[in-house]
């Protein structure tokens, strides 16, 4: 990239410079548009309610009051419960998903008999799907309605992820596998000891996508869960958005919160941040792998 830059720069003309200025400004504006909304609501969530209710606020807090976080996380059982459901679903969904997908991917990366058929079976799920109604009937007949496993199972694996993993595993050097085989190791040993650790970029990518998918999924709870105490956090937020005033009643009076220090704006801002922050915190752990992983998946797809 660096030499690329030098080459281009030497030939920059006056219109080129004007373009550059606009381009840099454009990306500054875009970046701000991604950040400011989150900062804005963060400020709402930590400001003193009496200060902003009179004159509003913009991008900096007015009087600090962290009561909402203490209340939401420790007193309001609803937010905490939903948070717990989301963590549970995301954790088990991601682990099972990554494991099943990578085992399948490794299997079809080898030239075993029936490989073409297996690839077709997986690929076909990308072309055609049963959709919402039959899946709902299936979950119902498995007696999983109102169970958190209904939130996990339908989204465990996707064909796209399997192919992404397979493409990556195909590029691994075969010499190592053969040497393990010589020592009497089976494919299972090779898979867990060698293939999995070497496929870190692809696995991190799939894990991140699965994890984000589960964490952000609000619809499964609407579809499968009637008992609101088992809702995921995203679903709870949706509920709060559609019924602003009830939030205060349910989050406040019932649970014994100090209603004078909370209003609907604040409650929503805080809950949104509680949902966003874990993703932002987890992201750096995956970042160094996942761009590479996506490239492989897409380019060799």
């Amino acid at each position: 990239m660096n030499c690329n830059m030098k080459i281009k720069r030497r030939y920059t003309t006056f219109p080129g410079m004007v373009f550059d200025i606009f381009n840099y400004a454009f990306f500054l504006a875009i970046t701000l548009s991604f950040l400011l909304p989150f900062i804005h609501i963060a400020m709402y969530s930590i400001s003193d309610i009496t200060n902003y209710s009179r004159s509003g606020l913009f991008l900096y807090p007015r009087g600090l009051d962290f009561y909402i976080y203490r209340a939401a996380l420790f007193n309001s059982s609803r937010v905490l419960q939903a948070f717990g459901v989301s963590v549970y679903v995301t954790f088990f969904g991601t682990i099972i998903g990554v494991l099943l997908s990578s085992m399948l991917a490794y299997g079809i990366s080898k030239p075993l008999k029936g490989q073409n058929f297996l690839v077709f079976i997986i690929f076909f799920t990308m072309l055609f799907n049963g959709g919402m109604v039959p899946t709902w009937l299936l979950i119902r007949s498995l007696n999983l309605l109102d169970s958190v496993w209904a939130l996990i199972l339908p989204g465990v694996m996707s064909a796209f992820n399997v192919f992404l993993l397979r493409n990556f595993m195909k590029m691994l050097p075969e010499g190592i596998e053969e040497s393990v085989m010589m020592d009497g190791g089976s494919y299972v040993v090779i898979f867990f000891r060698i293939v999995l650790p070497l496929s870190k970029p692809a696995i991190a990518t799939v894990a991140l996508m699965t994890l984000v998918g589960y964490w952000n999924d609000y619809f499964s709870s609407i579809l499968y869960i009637y008992d609101k105490t088992k809702w995921s956090l995203a679903t709870l937020i949706r509920d709060m958005l559609s019924r602003m005033d009830l939030t205060i009643m349910e989050g406040g009076q019932v649970v014994g919160l100090d209603v004078n220090r909370i209003d609907s704006v604040k409650m929503r801002s805080a809950t949104i941040l509680i949902a966003v922050i874990p993703v932002i915190m987890i992201y750096p752990f995956f970042q160094k792998y996942f761009e590479k992983g996506i490239m492989i998946g897409a380019i060799k797809g």
């Binding site: 875009i30 950040l35 609501i41 690929f123 959709g131 109604v133 009937l137 949706r238 949104i272």
Partner: protein, 321 residues
């Protein structure tokens, strides 16, 4: 997916089995444990993907909960006739295509342009920061974005709306306006995905041989010409592949986005097939009609993706398979 044809030739431990034909028996001896590794995933796909596909059979039945998929009476194409004569279904159908079409026109090129422009930023650090921050909305739920959107364009106290009002404009209530709701969907879709979707394009750009640019510069090509004659053609294969995906999904329209944003006032322009299926198939428990709509959608989607792939290959580009 190109391996589907050549798979047998790329044997890993090749030499020994190359001359012998790979029979089931020999494959089982050699790859027994691989079949064990495959099994759980395969079982999963059969239960959670193929059984629901079979479950679409209820589209051809008078489905009752007691009868189930196997015991309900066969009804032929009755449900499809009911569906085809339903104006609400056709409204959803047209809306879906309109919304997807607009997304294809505006939201599909957006990350390409984003990548091209970002590539013209010369400071690697600045580029890095912009890129990382631009992924943020992708990792956030539509529910959260709907919440943010509400903070900004809420008709009573949204920040942007207040701003417009103070400038003596009279902004409409976007969330309930049939004129503004769909454009809002397009804009928020771009906002959420532009940065993330640009990753593959930036990757494609960074894999271009720099020698090409050098020789172009020697031939006197301007920056714009370099982009036009080198960068864009190099991105074409990946653009084609993603285009196929997008065409195959043209009957989707973006369920999780629309479901969290829409309301009965904008059904006329924003109700899509998936939301229709949900309301009819799940909420009203009209399972057979919902399944019929879903079947119709899945079938067309499948032919679209096959057709798109075929077309791309006609133009000598590498397709999905």
């Amino acid at each position: 997916m190109s391996c589907m044809k050549t798979a047998e030739n790329v044997c890993s431990t090749g030499i020994r089995i190359k001359d012998k034909k790979l029979t089931w028996k020999r494959s089982w001896q050699k790859y027994k444990y691989l079949y064990f590794l495959i099994l759980p995933g395969l079982v999963y796909l059969i239960i959670f993907r193929y059984i629901p596909m079979y479950g679409l059979a209820i589209a051809f039945q008078d489905f009752t909960v007691f009868g189930g998929v196997f015991g309900s009476p066969f009804a032929g194409l009755k449900n499809f006739k009911t569906l085809m004569s339903n104006t609400l279904f056709w409204q959803a159908f047209v809306n879906t295509i309109r919304i997807s079409g607009l997304k294809l026109i505006f939201a599909f090129p957006a990350p390409i342009v984003f990548a091209l422009l970002l590539n013209e930023i010369f400071h690697p650090k600045y580029r890095r920061v912009v890129q990382t921050i631009s992924y943020l909305p992708h990792f956030v739920s539509w529910v959260v974005l709907a919440g943010l959107l509400d903070v900004f364009i809420n008709s009573s106290n949204g920040v942007l709306i207040m701003l417009l009002k103070s400038l003596k404009f009279n902004p409409p209530n976007i969330m309930t306006s049939n004129t503004w709701f769909v454009p809002m969907l397009i804009v928020t879709d771009i906002y959420k995905n532009v940065g993330y979707s640009s990753i593959v394009y930036l990757a494609a750009i960074s894999s271009i041989d720099l020698g090409l640019y050098e020789s172009a510069v020697i031939d006197g090509a301007s920056r714009f010409r370099q982009v036009w004659h080198i960068t864009i053609p190099s991105m074409l294969p990946i653009i084609c592949i993603l285009l196929i995906f997008n065409l195959g999904n043209i009957l989707d329209g973006g369920f999780s986005q629309i479901f969290v944003l829409y309301n009965s006032l904008v059904y006329r322009t924003a109700d899509i097939i998936d939301t229709y299926v949900y309301r009819v198939g799940i909420v009203s428990s009209d399972y057979s009609i919902g399944a019929a709509a879903q079947f119709f959608k899945s079938l067309i989607g499948m032919f679209l993706i096959i057709g798109a792939n075929y077309t791309v290959r006609l133009f000598d580009q590498k397709g999905l398979w």
